[in-house]
């Protein structure tokens, strides 16, 4: 869906290119998280996709078309854009903000109004309550929701999100991440998501691209990045607790031993993560947990041994 090939950008007065011959493919409907320390070129890369920054070399393909030679105005209208500071228009109502791209595209007012209400509902805001309010009357979390709704307005197949939940308190942030995952599950947009927070990357990304000094260091699923960091830099970047992070990506159901083993007094849901299971095993000081499905049926057991096997990667199981 999005293909970057040999993408390079050099800013005047900088010793090295901000983005250096970057090649990357994002499959349709996937969320690709660009992550790395500041100055790694993640934001620059994202901004080249909608030509907010013009590349010096290389090509950018979006939906099968090389966008380096199309009209940038028209291109941007077909790509959702969310930035950390949101940039809601303070003089426009929430409804008018969301209607921005439909209006630019010349939709008729009735269709635009319907779309605005639909999107407000999508981001869990009552249209009648919020449509005519102004950005300054909203909390940070609500503004960010409106920012996402505004980017989705004309139903673009591609979304660019630059640290969209960065400037928000951790609790609201976690909720917005959950909400976005729920929305994304339904809409299946192709998303390029920039963050500097590895936990956010693991949570949001189908694939994570780790960048350093404008170069791609590793590009893979969160599971593989945590299990097999390509080099010391990645290992350090994902943190010493990468094992725990990995466990939180794996579900109990996929690792339960079907034919019993030890049946224990303690049960855990099959949809829980291995990290939850490990916590339970430690708290309860148990050898194993009994795994139950949604209906409460016993489907097997999970021992510390199984968790160890999961970590060592001797078993390749589904990712949560």
């Amino acid at each position: 869906m999005i293909g970057l090939k040999g993408l390079t950008k050099r800013f005047a007065g900088e010793p090295r290119p901000a983005v250096d011959a970057l090649t990357l493919e994002v499959a349709e409907g996937e969320t690709c998280v660009l992550i790395g320390p500041s100055g790694c070129g993640k934001t620059t890369t994202m901004r080249m996709v909608n030509r907010m920054i013009e590349p010096d070399a290389g090509s950018i393909e979006v939906a099968g078309r090389d966008v380096t030679h199309v009209d940038p105005i028209e291109l941007r209208r077909s790509i959702g854009y969310v930035i950390q500071q949101i940039g809601l228009f303070p003089h426009m109502t929430i409804g008018e903000n969301i209607a921005t791209v439909p209006r630019l595209l010349g939709w008729d007012p009735e269709r635009t109004a319907r779309r605005v209400d639909e999107l407000l509902e999508l981001v869990a805001m009552d249209p009648d309550d919020y449509r005519n309010r102004f950005p300054r009357e909203l909390s940070g979390g609500q503004r960010q929701r409106v920012g996402v709704a505004r980017a989705l307005a004309a139903n673009p197949p591609v979304m660019l999100m630059d640290e969209p939940f960065g400037a928000i308190d951790p609790i609201t942030r976690a909720r917005l991440q959950q909400e976005f995952l729920r929305i994304q599950e339904r809409l299946r947009k192709t998303v390029v998501f920039v963050t500097h927070d590895i936990d956010e990357a693991i949570r949001m990304g189908d694939r994570i691209a780790i960048l350093r000094a404008g170069r791609l260091v590793q590009y893979d699923t969160p599971e593989v990045i945590l299990a097999r960091p390509a080099e010391a830099f990645v290992e350090e970047f994902v943190g010493v607790d990468r094992v725990l992070k990995r466990l939180s990506l794996l579900t109990v159901g996929a690792y339960a031993a079907p034919n019993g083993g030890t049946l224990s007094a303690h049960t855990i849901s099959a949809s829980a993560t291995l990290r939850d299971a490990l916590t339970q095993l430690l708290i309860k000081d148990a050898e194993a947990l009994t795994v139950t499905d949604d209906a409460g049926q016993i489907i097997g057991s999970l021992s510390l041994q199984r968790i160890r096997q999961a970590i060592s990667g001797s078993e390749s199981h589904a990712v949560a």
Partner: protein
Amino acid sequence: MLAEAWLYLLGHPAQFAKALGVHVSLSLSALALAALIAVPAGVRLAHRRAGALAAINAANVGRTLPSLAVLALAMPLLGTGFLPSLVALTLIALPPVLINTIVGVREIDPDVIDAARGMGMSGREVLRRIELPLAVPVIFAGLRTAAVQVVSGAVLATFIGGGGLGDFITAGIAMMALPLMLVGAIPVTLLSIGADALFGALQRQLTPRGLQ
């Protein structure tokens, strides 16, 4: 003394009406011209960092020139009468409008502009839908300052034969006739208070609701 001034006014209605008319039309024209020049120029300059700084510095220097000096400078170049007065007053009105336009556009949150561009607004659309509406309160504050300066500065037009209410004041000074001075001074005071109130009201009226 006020009564004497009032009697003089009643005795010379045509003369007063003419002076008032000239004063108002001189002020309004100067203000309109200044707005027509300074707002587009300011918007353009605001988009260039170096240009904006240079323009603000130049305008600040221009602001410190006494109104009388500007009028005096206009005379040798343009002669006397309405037109040179108009040019001089326009020059007086330009700096506050120019400075406020530049500042009004430049102080808009860059993220708002980035979001607008990123969603596919052209430069002109950004200007029309985002920058101008957001800069309007600041631009009108500049026009308000300029209006007061021009209304009071127009008193000096009399020195270069531009007419206006200043005629009464200079005549009054020349004849040592205080009531005659007041025939010019009181209406000018009221005019500038009125201009201030009018532009203040316009400024509030035109400030987008979301910014209030």
